[in-house]
Symmetry: C2
Subunit: 360 residues, 2 copies
């Protein structure tokens, strides 16, 4: 495939500048050059999360990053509350259970976002809850959760940690770790950071860091104590994914140079334009609270998912995400996150319009 | 730094062809193109390990790959035997203990390799041992363990699994997973496979796979059941490190085209030549059983480690590994693994010779 456009909600398109940097010879991770690189990256990561707290870098997918938060903050039989409104949030119910935690899940229909009242009710019913896990943008449905308001409610009514899956939001949707009182936020490299997958990032508040010492779940590779100790001397305890970090250095520079608030605004403008174009085609958007980074669109009933994806990819070079879970054959998902411009939105709308006509 | 030569024992030099492939736009991991790529990679990985058994690919460093073996095969308080003759083997004592296992360690001096008699004595003393962990090449000392003979002894005298850290051996030293009766072997991307770090690979025997069902250690991200299920349908359960897999596809093709036995032979010839050159310079090699992939050399007492590394890097462009653990300032370590030729050996010897003269 020579010419195609990657509009999946991860991996997202990697800018040429970033790819060129990753094609350079790797550097030695125990030398001075690496220290300089890592220090620069860590500073820029704090900017992306809007925090003065440490942001740890792990070699893993976002799922690994989320696991790291569970095993470092909690002990067997600790209770946590986890919103469950899509494929990924469901994983943050299943995973902590597999790791030995008690999980109260706030089950919502796919496409719905949790309200402050719903979270508050659960917190009052389970005052022993050590944390509330929220998904900022649920990638399977393109639904955004009002993390800012919910964090306030959680902070005002409990001592539970506010933990956020920011995988398809960080670097695209407004997010302010310090100002909003977030304790934990995880993201991954292949979304707003415009990199290939392979890295996870975890921002941690002072409250969260204090939990390390009481957590008794077994861990080693993901041990935040070890990772934070190394971080403080600009190092990593295990061999880092050097080429991805070199690429990250470039993409963080690009983000810094455009400016985070401008990037959030660009994502909002493009999402508005995309949603309006999709509605004009007579299509329905799944989410009741749609995200500015991912849009899940219901396929017209007479069109088969496989046929749609093959046609739009082969004829128009547009690669979208498939539906997931019980929506596997009913949805297509468009990633408009990271390296996207208005020309992409126009290409997407035109390709969908023509494909729907041609598959009639 | 424009011109330098990466002779650390990991990361190793990444061939241009591989770097160019990694600079291509990432592909979607839930599409057909990825399935074809992953199927081809998996077949070639079996060749590298000399096995017809599955080789699982994880997004993690080698340390993550090792942790995955502990949490999938064992339960709390299970006993394992682990050889302890260097920095990495010591980690395979510390890590399983942190994860809740009982570890009997066979402590040897750094630079020594375990004998069959030593392993047999421990196996007889601890017949409940569920596994013996060996490090094929201990990267901190450049010491090779006779995995083939030890595996035979372990198999003939116990039901313990034979588990091998093959991080700095696979793709460089002779290794035959099936023929030698190995149960578990872990390697990582940044050594003999000539890639940047970020991927771990785990080959598993039928006996090892049968252990999954009885293991009760908590796991999710590294859950081999989930990973093996996905593997069987040419998929990964979590987002894979796509650009590294694209590079791996190239490097595995290069290995296939040169031929594994020829590559083992090349490493032997280069290592012989390097060791002979080093001895001619009057330097001492640490290991009593030196590996054909990594050589740890004792620095003359009058030369400071930092001075040596800075000089040879800045003047001759040669980057070596530093010493580790209690040998931190006494050793330098040369990686001659993966993408290396006779010209590299000559460059290394000449650079050391001149550096020693210039620092006199």
């Amino acid at each position: 495939m020579a010419d195609y456009y990657l509009y999946t909600p991860g991996p997202t398109s990697v800018p040429e500048k970033v790819r060129k940097r990753m094609a350079e010879q790797v550097i030695y991770h125990r030398g001075d050059e690496f220290k300089k690189l890592f220090t620069r990256i860590n500073k820029n990561l704090q900017y992306i999360f809007q925090t003065s707290q440490p942001v740890l870098t792990l070699v893993s997918s976002g799922t690994g990053g989320m696991e790291a938060t569970f095993v470092n903050l909690f002990s067997p039989d600790d209770t946590i509350i986890s919103v469950n409104n899509g494929k990924f949030s469901a994983r943050w119910v299943e995973m902590p259970r597999a790791l030995g935690l008690k999980v109260i899940d706030l089950r919502l229909d796919w496409g719905e976002a949790p309200t402050a009242a719903q979270v508050l009710r659960l917190l009052r019913k389970h005052p022993q809850a050590k944390a509330v896990y929220l998904v900022h943008c649920e990638t399977s449905t393109g639904t955004v959760t009002d993390v800012r308001s919910l964090a306030k409610v959680i902070r005002n009514n409990s001592s539970a940690l506010v933990c956020v899956d920011g995988v398809s939001s960080i670097g695209a949707l407004e997010f302010r770790f310090d100002d909003w009182g977030i304790d934990v936020c995880v993201t991954a490299s292949q979304k707003g950071l415009m990199l290939p997958p392979g890295l996870a990032f975890v921002a941690l508040s002072r409250r969260a860091i204090r939990k390390f010492s009481s957590s008794s779940l077994p861990k080693y590779y993901f041990d935040f104590k070890k990772i934070l100790n190394s971080y403080r001397s600009e190092q990593t305890p295990w061999t880092p994914a050097i080429s991805l970090l070199m690429g990250l250095d470039e993409s963080l520079k690009m983000i810094h140079s455009e400016g985070l608030e401008k990037i959030w605004k660009r994502h909002k403008i493009l999402a508005d334009s995309l949603r309006s174009g999709i509605k004009k085609l007579g299509l329905e958007i799944l989410s009741k609270n749609p995200s500015n980074s991912v849009t899940a669109v219901l396929l017209p009933r007479h069109i088969k998912s496989l046929e749609f994806h093959n046609h739009i990819q082969n004829k128009y070079g547009c690669i979208f995400g498939k539906g997931q879970g019980h929506y596997a054959s009913e949805l297509f998902r468009i990633g408009h996150i990271g390296n996207v411009q208005e020309s992409d939105v126009q290409r997407i709308i035109t390709a969908i319009k023509k494909t729907l006509n041609e598959l009639k």
